[in-house]
């Protein structure tokens, strides 16, 4: 046993998995430090659930290593791993009560009766289900079932908690509440957690780090801000929220101050390069709708200022979404606080301000 704080709690090394001839995991490597909540996110079929099942020991894989707290565990069956999973459908035992479900694993580990009872009480309290231990599972609401599933998974104090789309069966409001509760619980217990979801906003709001997957390959690993603000590629950029893409060619690169200019269909755009660009590089500018400012009068900042004409405006309360024509290109713009600036009408002319610190991808 080498429990070492410098070593991540969970390490995946070059995991490959084939279904027949279809490779669904193409060499996944990942380190998860202790106490972190990592979310696997991606469109369906990206391999995120398969990867979770690999970690849990339910799905055999073809090559690679799974290392938990310094020990290789990929040859172990689920019951001998210190990971606990919480299934999408909860998989609660329908013929047992809440308490029986929660104590199931404890009894298998042959805990003493009074300790089991204590632990069950503690867990019920933890998930706010005090007094419901004697209920049958089918007499619980969806949210309550969710809590039982979490309590059951936590019962044996696993080293890693695996949550497979745990909130997808709940309605929208409950989902928000439970999301917060799970996160709070996780932070309190400092339990290393893997969270699988297809909902990028859920991923953004709950995670320490996000792993974006597509077709069995990790696209990017990073904090929610990194993923949102500095996506590594077009797929990630468009997967997490809406984005305006502008194709362009680098025209000029200044070293001091750090500044570059790209020519695009809507004109020249200055930007602060995050890496080295050379003149002539083909690039893609990633402009989030909410980063563009609009105004009736020409602004006086040093940012890129363009002129456009409103095509459609949609008022959705917290903001207004505009489709704006800029030199034949369509741009989506979110205007926060619409009441303060006033709402633009269709065909109204306006000025757009695109900040210089936009994210720019190199096109291959």
């Amino acid at each position: 046993m080498s429990s070492n704080h410098s070593v991540p709690m969970l390490m995946l090394r070059d995991i490959h998995k084939f279904y027949d001839h279809l490779e669904v995991l193409k060499g996944i490597s990942l380190d998860v430090p202790k106490g972190e909540l990592v979310t696997f996110v991606g469109p369906s079929g990206c391999g995120k659930t398969t990867l979770l099942r690999v970690i849990g020991g339910f799905t055999p894989f073809d090559s690679g290593e799974v290392i938990l707290d310094g020990l290789r565990i990929d040859h172990l069956p689920p019951n001998l791993r210190d990971t606990r999973i919480c299934f999408q459908n909860y998989a609660l035992f329908p013929h047992m009560t809440v308490a029986e479900n929660i104590s199931y694993g404890l009894k298998i580990k042959k805990w003493k009766k009074n300790r089991v009872e204590e632990r069950v009480e503690e867990l019920l309290k933890l998930v706010k289900l005090e007094g419901l231990g004697g209920r049958m599972i089918d007499k619980l609401s969806g949210g309550q079932q969710q809590r039982v599933a979490v309590a059951r998974a936590l019962s044996l104090e696993p080293k890693v908690l695996l949550l497979d789309e745990p909130l997808s069966n709940l309605d929208a409001n409950l989902r928000l509440t439970m999301r917060g509760e799970i996160r709070k619980l996780q932070e309190r217990l400092k339990i290393t957690t893997i969270f699988v979801t297809h909902d990028q906003f859920e991923a953004m709001s709950i995670s320490d780090r996000i792993v974006v997957m597509k077709e069995g390959v990790i696209q990017q690993i990073g904090s929610p801000i990194e993923i949102y603000e500095r996506p590594d590629n077009e797929f990630i950029a468009s997967f997490v929220g809406y984005v305006n893409f502008l194709d362009g060619v680098v025209e000029r690169v200044d070293i001091r101050p750090d500044m570059a200019t790209a020519s695009t269909p809507i004109g020249r755009i200055d930007f602060v390069p995050e890496r080295n660009f050379n003149v002539g590089d083909k690039v893609k500018l990633v402009i989030r709708p909410e980063t563009i400012n609009i105004s009736r009068s020409e602004p006086t900042t040093g940012d890129n200022v363009l002129q456009g004409e409103v095509e459609i405006g949609m008022y959705v309360g917290s903001l207004t979404k505009y489709t704006v024509q800029v030199k034949g290109e369509r741009m989506i713009i979110d205007q926060a606080n619409p009441r303060e600036t006033g709402i633009f009408k269709e065909n109204e002319k306006l000025y757009l301000t695109i900040p210089k610190n936009i994210h720019v991808l190199r096109k291959d």
């Binding site: 290392i67 020990l71 689920p78 019951n79 998989a91 609660l92 013929h95 199931y104």
Partner: protein, 565 residues
């Protein structure tokens, strides 16, 4: 201070490794064991019959088959048997459909009593009807004398009537079960679209019931041509394959000809079994997947209602009267000759040992059968080995095999060491286990399809090994299927005659065989009294079983339904 990349694999001792191996391979080991059991107790006996039929002291021969097909007697026996099976199947299906339709769609007032009557024959030996028919329509029967009937009961017609009454409940159970699972909305929407009731039955109800009807037909056919009690008692000189086989084996020790007759008997059953499998491919779970829905009483058109009630009423009356006659006979000195009411038959306790044995054997068979059935269902659904569908097919084939053939097969296969089972009690139970396995297996399969595999994974995830998961999660969840298999095997074993009649031995007599012997012998009073005792005990057992299962919260109505599967 381990460096990345050099993480060591924990070392396991031999014990842990064996444990891990067992844990991972237990499903396959279980499957292998079950397969072996199926081979020994289902395939091998059949093979033994086949071999016996083509072997004489000098080697292989077809001479017995030549004899069969060149002598008119045997040929007539074959045609009689097929004709009996055919007529019976058709009549049973029609009557059972009428009954099932009335009890699920008809007037509320009729539902319960009709259902009760339709199920009654299940708890008595099938040849109860031969006994009651003799009492009523024999040459000196009550009705014969009262109305001066000239018709002779003994012969083909008598056998058909008795067999029909005996096997209506089998067909009824299955058709009623599928009909109950059939969502009445389907029929109602056809009604809404302007179809008449007859048209609905023809175009909606019956086509949707096809799998259930098909299966009922197969079961009735096989039972009719194999359960020979009625034919032996009422057949007179009309030859049928099953009773002839019985005479040859039991009376003449002519195993070769008996085996030939068995093989011939098996052929139509196998053909129908494969036909049935072929026709049901892909439809399997539509028959049992649906949740039973109580249908509101429908206003039936007289065009349907009157013939349905007529048919059901006639059959229902016949069944009730038959039971009544047997009840009467068991309290009468010699019914029809000396109608003095006496208790001598009832107080004759010679049959106690036989009844005790019957219950013992049935319980053993039911327990093993339900267990094996549940396990088989598990490996069929959850196993990942090659040949699963083959195992499924074999385990379901039991009910397509005539009891006589299984009986003879067991007699041939287990008569000598190392597998000497004859002369004991286990052989009586084992043949039932494997003949009636299909019900438990099918119920188990359909139950397992409803249980999400993640539930088992969750258990493994919480540290349970395969055995613990199986015992704590799978078995309790499959319990309704276990009960279905248990009850079906218990009831059929208790009253079935065709296989065990070859296997009873001194000290291990069974009630069904004893009643049959007495009936053949002509001791109607004694046979009736023993039948009645058996019926009472079956009812008593069912009540206890119901109580136990109800007490523990399992829905009984559901089980009754799945009994029919």
């Amino acid at each position: 201070m381990a460096e990345a990349g050099s993480f060591h694999v924990p070392r396991f001792g031999v014990r842990e490794r064996v444990k891990a191996f067992l844990n991972a391979e237990l499903v396959n080991i279980l499957a292998a064991i079950l397969f072996l059991l199926l081979v020994i107790f289902l395939l091998y006996p059949i093979l033994a019959v086949l071999i016996k039929s083509i072997k004489d002291p000098e080697g292989l021969t077809l001479s017995y088959y030549v004899k069969f097909f060149t002598k008119g007697y045997y040929f007539r026996s074959l045609t009689n048997t097929l004709l009996l099976g055919l007529i019976n199947t058709v009549v049973c299906l029609i009557t059972a459909f009428c009954l099932a339709y009335l009890t699920t769609r008809g007037p509320l007032l009729l539902r319960k009593p009709l259902k009760l009557v339709a199920m009654m024959p299940l708890i008595a030996p099938p040849y109860l009807f031969a006994i009651s028919l003799i009492i009523l329509f024999g040459h000196n029967g009550i009705m014969t004398k009262a109305f001066g009937i000239k018709w002779s009961l003994y012969g083909f017609t008598g056998v058909v009537i008795a067999q029909t009454l005996a096997f209506i409940p089998l067909a009824y159970l299955m058709i009623e079960n599928t009909l109950r699972s059939l969502n009445p909305n389907l029929e109602e929407s056809a009604y809404d679209l302007g179809a008449s009731e007859i048209r609905i039955i023809r175009t909606i109800t019956i086509p949707l019931l096809a799998p259930g009807i098909l299966k009922a037909g197969l079961l009735v056919f096989v039972m009719t041509i194999a359960e020979f009690g009625n034919a032996a008692i009422l057949g007179g000189r009309t030859p049928f394959l099953a009773p002839d086989t019985y005479t040859m084996i039991i009376g003449e020790a002519d195993f070769e000809m008996g085996s030939v007759l068995s093989v011939i008997l098996i052929i139509p059953c196998i053909i129908i079994f494969f036909l049935h499998n072929y026709m049901l491919t892909g439809k399997k779970f539509t028959t049992i997947g649906g949740k039973p829905v109580a249908s509101e009483p429908r206003k039936m058109t007289p065009l349907v209602k009157i013939p349905f009630i007529l048919i059901s009423g006639t059959v229902g009356m016949a069944i009730v009267v038959s039971f009544g006659m047997v009840l009467l006979a068991s309290f009468t000195r010699i019914l029809g000759v000396n109608n003095e009411l006496v208790l001598t038959h009832i107080l004759n306790f010679d049959s106690n040992l036989a009844i005790y044995n019957s219950i013992k054997v049935s319980l053993i068979a039911a327990f093993i059968g339900a267990m094996v059935g549940t396990l088989l269902a598990y490996v069929i659904v959850r196993g990942k080995f090659f040949g699963r569908s083959f195992i499924e097919m074999i385990s379901l084939s039991g009910f397509a095999l005539p009891g006589t053939v299984i009986g003879i097969g067991y007699l041939l296969a287990f008569n000598a060491p190392p597998l000497k089972l004859t002369g004991g009690i286990m052989i009586l139970a084992l043949n039932s286990v494997f003949r009636f396995l299909a019900v438990g297996v099918e119920a188990g399969i359909s139950k397992l399809h409803q249980i999400n595999i993640e539930i088992e994974e969750a258990s493994a995830d919480l540290g349970a090994n395969f055995m613990a998961t199986f015992y704590k999660i799978v078995l309790p969840l499959m319990f309704p299927a276990f009960i279905a298999g248990f009850i079906y095997t218990f009831m059929t074993t208790l009253v079935s005659l065709s296989a065990v009649v070859f296997l009873v031995s001194p000290g291990f007599e069974l009630a069904a065989v004893r009643i049959f012997d007495r009936a053949v012998y002509g001791e109607i009073g004694n046979a009736s009294a023993t039948t009645m005792k058996l019926v009472v005990i079956v009812i008593f057992c069912m009540v206890i079983l119901n109580y136990i299962t109800k007490k523990t919260g399992f829905d009984v109505s559901q089980k009754k339904g799945s009994v029919a599967v």
